[in-house]
Every structure is written in structure tokens, then in C-alpha cells.
């Protein structure tokens, strides 16, 4: 029963990575993982670290569950998935506390809440349980990055308009709004750093995406 070996990066496999970036985006199309997208996007640095952490967890949980998929008893599969996800999240949390202490303080409880991020359980149930490890890894990376991109876009607008700065990991805070604008009476928009504006920013991104890709618009 030798099946034809598929190349590692066949068109079908690549689609697993690219689809979640656009037409299958977990945040803007499937509207999953919204809660953390609101919470950690007031500054760019925590958003980037969160994106990396979530990608790590989606990739490895997809991989591990896919490896175990034929051994997991159906009745406790959700529990098994949760244990795997929770273990990975705790590892991420511990690593951040050891090597990115400042950022871990900013992310505080939201690293722990990756466990409840709907994207992760969603991908495990919908994909990893019925696909091979390599495809699952690609799917995990795709969804993690798809989530991360939106997070970074939201954080970029919120930080530039709300604080007038850009904070990148390792580079510190850069002031991007020239001082002269402030002298002329420009004010940072304090509303941007509050959670409601994150929701509105997500809404605008969804709007822009749907205007450009008519396939996403539901027909009546």
C-alpha cells in the first residue's frame, strides 16, 4: 500500500499556510480569538510576542495531536487536547518569564489565556485530528501567523494613533509622530488605547478585506 509521496511543499500544502493569512483568516473571517486581539494590542511589542507565542502553540499542539490522533480515545479527546495545549502554554509562559521578563509582565494573564483561544482548539478539532503531522504543522503555522498579522496591524494603528510611538522587541520605543505636530496642537487619541477601539479597528480591517475580496461576502 505505497501511496505516492507528496512533495513537502506541494501546492496543496502551501495553501495550508497561505489560506489562513487571507481568505480563511482566523480573526477577520472566522472571527475566532477576538478577546486576546483586543487585550494585547495597545502596544506593538506585546502584540508581536503574543503572535509568536500563539504561533508556537498552534504549531506544536497541531503536531503533537496529529501524531497522537490514532491513539486518542474519542471520549476523552477534548481533555487530551486541553492537556497538550495547557502544557505548551505553561512552557511558553515560563520561557517568557525567564527570557522576556518585561514583556511577560505586560502580557500578564493573556499568555495563560492562550489555552482558551478558540483558534487553537478549533484547529485541533477541525484539522489535526484528521490529518498527517506535516500538514498539521503547516496548518498550525498558517493559523498562528494569520492571527499574528492581524494582531500586529491592529497594534500598529493603536500605538501610533494612541501613543505616537512604535515599540519593537529589542529596539525600544521609537517616537514616530514628529514633535512639531504636538507643538501645533496635535494630541494622541487616548481612545485608541482603550479596548473598544481595538474592536472598531478589527471591524475596519474586516470591511477592507471584504471590499477587496467579494467571495467573503455572504449572499442572501
Amino acid at each position: 500500500m505505497s501511496e505516492d509521496k507528496e512533495p513537502l511543499f506541494s501546492a496543496k500544502n502551501l495553501k495550508l499556510i497561505t489560506a489562513p493569512l487571507g481568505a480563511q483568516n482566523p480573526i477577520t473571517v472566522q472571527v475566532l480569538g477576538i478577546c486576546s486581539a483586543l487585550a494585547v494590542t495597545a502596544k506593538l511589542e506585546p502584540a508581536i510576542v503574543m503572535a509568536i507565542s500563539v504561533t508556537f502553540v498552534t504549531t506544536f499542539s497541531n503536531f503533537i495531536i496529529s501524531l497522537l490522533r490514532n491513539t486518542i480515545p474519542t471520549r476523552i479527546r477534548i481533555i487530551v487536547q486541553l492537556v497538550v495545549v495547557a502544557a505548551l502554554v505553561i512552557i511558553v509562559d515560563q520561557i517568557l518569564k525567564a527570557y522576556a521578563y518585561e514583556v511577560s509582565l505586560q502580557l500578564s494573564v493573556f499568555v495563560g489565556l492562550i489555552i482558551t483561544n478558540c483558534i487553537i482548539m478549533g484547529r485541533l478539532e477541525a484539522f489535526a485530528l484528521s490529518n498527517k503531522p506535516w500538514q498539521s504543522v503547516l496548518d498550525g503555522i498558517g493559523n498562528g501567523v494569520g492571527y499574528g498579522i492581524i494582531l500586529v496591524i491592529i497594534a500598529f494603528f493603536r500605538e501610533v494613533l494612541g501613543s505616537g510611538t512604535i515599540t519593537l522587541p529589542g529596539l525600544g520605543t521609537l517616537h514616530v509622530i514628529p514633535k512639531i505636530l504636538y507643538d501645533w496642537g496635535y494630541e494622541n487619541n487616548g481612545l485608541m488605547i482603550l479596548p473598544p477601539m481595538a474592536l472598531i479597528t478589527v471591524g475596519i480591517i474586516i470591511w477592507v478585506q471584504r471590499a477587496r475580496n467579494k467571495d467573503l461576502v455572504e449572499t442572501k
Binding site: K43, T71, P73, I76, V80, V84, A87, A98, Y101, G190
Partner: protein, 230 residues
């Protein structure tokens, strides 16, 4: 073995849990020393910041050694020195005790031509704990500098207490009035506080956090009254 049977399910769950527990215990043990170090360094950065010394995680240890070092002790309510290491006293635990039984850590720094007394403070904000360090001049009543931190106050509102504009208001204020009575520092809105020696301006939209700072200063500084009046 039947993959859907009870025995298999129980065995599977048990093995999984043991493996995961072992893995997590290993990770936690391996990373613990580095995490402890981070917490210590962050505390040193905060203490140094209260006497206006900027430091980064890289040079904090060195600067702490230079400006403070072992120059710290623990006081009791009567202002007498007692046994203990000021750096390891947990304010969180001390504040649960009645004021008379608490330990009062104190750090001393010699900079800017005089002794500075650094007092750690801790209290409640809107969403979680807030804390900070207040440094007093050698006269033991004029504030030299103050720094505050918080766990989860709202960015742009309560979280402004960790920003410079709020903190630099404290320099030059006094916590005792002319008669020598303890006044603490009020954090108030609505009047010009720049001429008031015992008040600073609160944060708009951060009322509860501002009140938390006021209560924290009142609560924590008052325990040092006896020592400061000496």
C-alpha cells in the same frame, strides 16, 4: 486492546498526565533561577529609579551595589532596627498584619551629597496591586523622588502612575507639616496642587487608581512615623 474501552481510556489519561507533569516540572525547575533573578533585578531597577538613577536590566546589579549595596535594614513599628534582610521582606505579607506587628524595610542611598531614605510602598489599584518606592531627603520629610508600578491598571488612565509626569510631581513635597504632624501626600483633582506641599495632581480618568496611590502612601508611610521623627 480496545481503543474505546474504559481500561484503555484510563491508562491513556494516566500516562499522558504523568508525562506532561514530569515535563512541566523539569521546565519549571530549569528556568526558576533565571526567573528569580529577573524579579530581583526588576526590584533593584525600581529602587534605583526612586532616587532618580536610571538603570537597565544589564547594569542594575552593578549600580545597586554602588549606590545602595548592603545599606538597608528592617525596622519595627517603634522605629527600632530588627533582624532581617530588607530586600527579601515581602510587603504583600506584611500588609496583612496589623500595623504594630509589621516589618518595615528601609533602603539608604548616598547620592547627590546626602543620605536618601527609600521606603517601599504597596497598595490596591483598580484592577490589581500597585506598588512603588518613595525616597526622602536627609531631613526625613521632603520627598526626593518616587516611582510607582502596577499590575494591570488601564493603559492611558490608571497606568499613567508609572509615567514620569505623574511621578515627578512628588519631588519636593513633604509628608510632615510645620508642626511635625504626619500628613502623607494627597492625590487630588480640581485644585492647583503645585503650591500645596502635601498634594499632587490626580490622573483624569484614573480616579480609583489615584485614590489607591493616596491610600497606599498614607498606609505604608505612616508606619515609619516614629523612625522619621527621630
Amino acid at each position: 486492546m480496545d481503543r474505546q474501552g474504559n481500561t484503555y481510556t484510563f491508562l491513556y489519561a494516566s500516562v499522558l498526565v504523568v508525562v506532561v507533569a514530569a515535563l512541566l516540572a523539569f521546565v519549571s525547575q530549569t528556568l526558576k533561577p533565571i526567573q528569580q533573578k529577573n524579579i530581583e533585578v526588576a526590584k533593584k531597577i525600581d529602587i534605583l529609579k526612586s532616587v532618580n538613577i536610571a538603570s537597565t536590566p544589564k547594569d542594575a546589579e552593578e549600580k545597586y551595589e554602588k549606590y545602595i549595596g548592603n545599606n538597608s535594614f528592617v525596622l519595627n513599628y517603634d522605629g527600632k532596627k530588627v533582624e532581617g534582610d530588607a530586600f527579601t521582606v515581602s510587603l504583600e505579607k506584611e500588609l496583612k498584619k496589623p500595623a504594630k506587628d509589621r516589618l518595615y524595610p528601609l533602603f539608604i542611598s548616598n547620592i547627590d551629597g546626602g543620605k536618601k531614605y527609600i521606603i517601599p510602598v504597596r497598595g490596591k489599584g483598580l484592577w490589581g496591586p500597585i506598588w512603588g518606592y518613595v525616597s526622602l531627603n536627609e531631613d526625613k520629610k521632603t520627598i526626593y523622588g518616587a516611582t510607582f508600578g502596577h499590575k494591570g491598571e488601564t493603559p492611558g488612565l490608571g497606568a499613567e502612575i508609572e509615567k514620569e509626569p505623574f511621578q515627578k510631581q512628588f519631588a519636593g513635597k513633604t509628608i510632615f507639616d510645620d508642626k511635625g504632624d504626619f500628613t502623607s501626600i494627597k492625590v487630588e483633582k480640581g485644585h492647583n496642587t503645585s503650591n500645596d506641599p502635601h498634594a499632587v495632581d490626580a490622573i483624569s480618568g484614573g480616579t480609583i487608581t489615584s485614590k489607591g496611590v493616596q491610600a497606599m502612601l498614607q498606609d505604608c508611610l505612616s508606619g515609619y512615623k516614629k523612625f522619621l521623627k527621630e
